[in-house]
């Protein structure tokens, strides 16, 4: 081919290639848009797709009306921040309050902020891992929500994700602490604190009773204050021993 013809043809190729790439961009954009539209339609008619369940608001605030439903994905974060997967724009809810993931048809939830949250009126603090089933009531900040897991999701979930490591699974199987569903550090600490408080209350009550009896002239001086405290200390010791045995096992 002569050089002149080559120049003419290569110029033509420039125009044709511009037209081709314009068509390619248009077709690709069309395909992208149509796929998105179909996905949106699928989501409109089957909102359950891609979600593990919903959190129905029992009581919220001005920005979260009761009865509203928040879709629960298979894993993510919960909090008042807009970046959270479950956004709860309610007073006293931290930006990132908790993170959660689905496993074996149950929703596992761990606190990220020291305020924690309550599941069925049981407080969950950082270090704990709450396992929620269908119907569990979650209270975070001023919001109260009830969890509804889709029935079809039972026994399924994102169990192959890296959240729950093999070590945690092994620990859980062997009944050790820090496993799945095992009491976390926060729970053990809280249990100890609660037992101590109860024992001290009991001791205090015994002491008051003894003091009253002394004032009334009943009972002996040796009984005053001592027995209840000793009993409380014994209870705490037993508790601690039990906990350590459990951890050793």
């Amino acid at each position: 081919m002569t050089q002149a013809w080559f120049q003419v043809l290569s110029l033509c190729f420039g125009y044709i290639s511009a037209a081709l790439i314009a068509l390619i961009v248009l077709l690709a954009a069309r395909k992208y848009a149509s796929d998105r539209a179909v996905y949106a339609r699928v989501m409109r008619h089957t909102p359950q797709v891609g979600a593990a369940g919903v959190l129905r608001v029992l009581s919220g605030g001005r920005r979260l009306a009761a009865g509203e439903e928040l879709s629960v994905p298979y894993e993510g974060t919960m909090g008042s921040g807009h970046s959270c997967d479950i956004c709860i724009p309610v007073r006293r809810v931290h930006m990132r309050s908790a993170f959660f993931w689905m496993e074996e048809g149950r929703l596992h939830m761990a606190a990220l902020h020291r305020d924690g949250f309550l599941v069925d009126d049981v407080p969950v603090e950082p270090g704990d891992e709450a396992v929620l089933e269908d119907g569990a009531v979650v209270r975070v900040g001023d919001a109260k929500l009830v969890l509804r897991l889709y029935g079809a999701r039972r026994g399924r979930g994102a169990k192959d994700d890296p959240y729950v490591t093999s070590e945690r699974r092994r620990n859980a199987r062997q009944g050790r602490g820090e496993g799945i569903g095992a009491p976390g550090k926060g729970e053990i600490r809280r249990e100890k604190k609660l037992m101590k408080q109860r024992a001290l209350d009991r001791a205090g009550a015994d002491g008051a009773k003894a003091r009253k009896e002394n004032r009334d002239g009943k009972g002996s001086r040796t009984k005053r204050g001592g027995a209840g405290t000793i009993e409380a200390m014994e209870t705490i010791g037993m508790m601690e021993e039990k906990q350590s045995r459990r951890t050793r096992r």
Binding site: S10, L11, A28, Y32, V42, R148, Y150
Partner: protein, 545 residues
Amino acid sequence: MAREIFTAKRRKTGDGAVNARYKKTEEEKPAQARRQTGGAARKAAAGAAEKPAAKARGKAAAKPEARGAEKTRAAQRKKTAAPGRGGGKKDGLIDARMKAGPRSAARRESGRDRRAREKTEKAMRDRRRAVSRGVDMPVVMITLMTVLFEAMGFMLLAVRTEGAVDLRAFSLLAVMAPLAAATALLLPRFLPLDPLIMALTNFLCGVGMVVLYTVTPERAVRQASYYALGLAAMLVVSLAVSRMRRFRGLTMLSMVLGIGALLLPLAFGSWQNGAKNWVELPFLGSFQPSELVKLSLVLSLAYYFSAHRTVLQMMPAILFAGACLLLLMLQRDLGTALIYYAATLVLFYAACGNVPLTVMGLGGGAAAAVLGYRMFAHVKVRVAMWRNPWSDPLDKGYQIIQALLAIGSGGLFGVGLGQGTPEKIPAYYNDFIFAVICEQLGVVFGLLLLAVYLVLILRGVSLITHTRRSFDMLLGCGVLAIFAIQTFMIVAGVIKMIPLTGVTMPFLSYGGSSLLSCLMMTGILHGIAARTKADMEDDILSIKG
């Protein structure tokens, strides 16, 4: 994608509610035909269509077709009335679970919703027919245009020399065109590949190959072999991402290998263009380890950022990224270091949304940039030439001036394929390929090429927003961040928007390591698309029972 899921679901659930409706339609057709012919059959069919079931049973007892239609209709009514089944379309399952009230979801469905649903179902039906015929029109058209572009380009270049035919161009065409057609049209049927991403990737690679052939045919031939190798690697990565369930071991291994690979140039590499980032291997030739370590970086960041959300638990990945950055600084490969840093920051923000720490990271990056400017002489030169390349037009500012002149001389539609003087630009085959494309095919083509990148990235974003696992999302996010940052850095550098950094243009530039890593990262996107599709398919199947 979602359409395919629905289609797959339909094929699997033979007795679903939607299928029952189609069966009914099919069985009504003969009844309608008989209605037209008149007689007792007309009465029976009309009775079966309009009157209560008992009456219709009596009148149409002799007509098995009409009985069949009635049965199907009764089954349909039963299914529609059952809460939590396919009949309760929009939120039947939720309402059944919630025990919200006695009214079924189907009864509450408004006319508007029903029309919208029917429209969707029609679209699904059309989609099913199209897929069953193996036709996905936009992808087929894009692939055809890619093949046409390659065919025209290579044939034109084959007859460029007067009185001779370049057979190498034909052989390249014989390799490239079937590969493009097979990977975009055939393989997505059997393997986890997203057709649109595959078609766009093939087009970009095809453009790179044709333009490269105009300036250095030998390099184009070598690039074609890397392309074939890259496609194979992409398939492996795609299969691995879509099938694997545990990434812990792979992450650890890739981190160790990544650090080892980045140490190689420091130990055995040689200085080239002010950086020591290439290694010569006995049989494979030279390769750039930092290109392949991008995969390790994305994998480790995605794994640790998704598995543990506290900053302390993210530390292994952050330390790995820091070690990579340090090694790249020692190699003086600042462009790649910038990509690593920006990708890490993007993934950190995507994982935890911690604005103060992200801003602190940005501040740290700015401080490192200032430090790099003061420490390295070639960075100072690049910044000075970015500000005023005409201060030293024959030496330091030569390449940027030549690139700008090439883009300007190309005009809107270019000087023509194989025309112009691209060889005057230093590094015309890798860093400045965009300038060569703009010179030969025009600024319009260059801008539309950027639009192709944009669509590719948007498609990736749309894929990763539908993932179920945060690991998948972060993995895809890292890949897309690298593509976007790299493309922006090189294009903005070539048009003198930012100081020039020595990085390649994804899929277009010459370079085996670059093309291999880009195709492998595309494989990650394909794998994520397949996983998401499988998850959605599971969801739809379980919802519809």
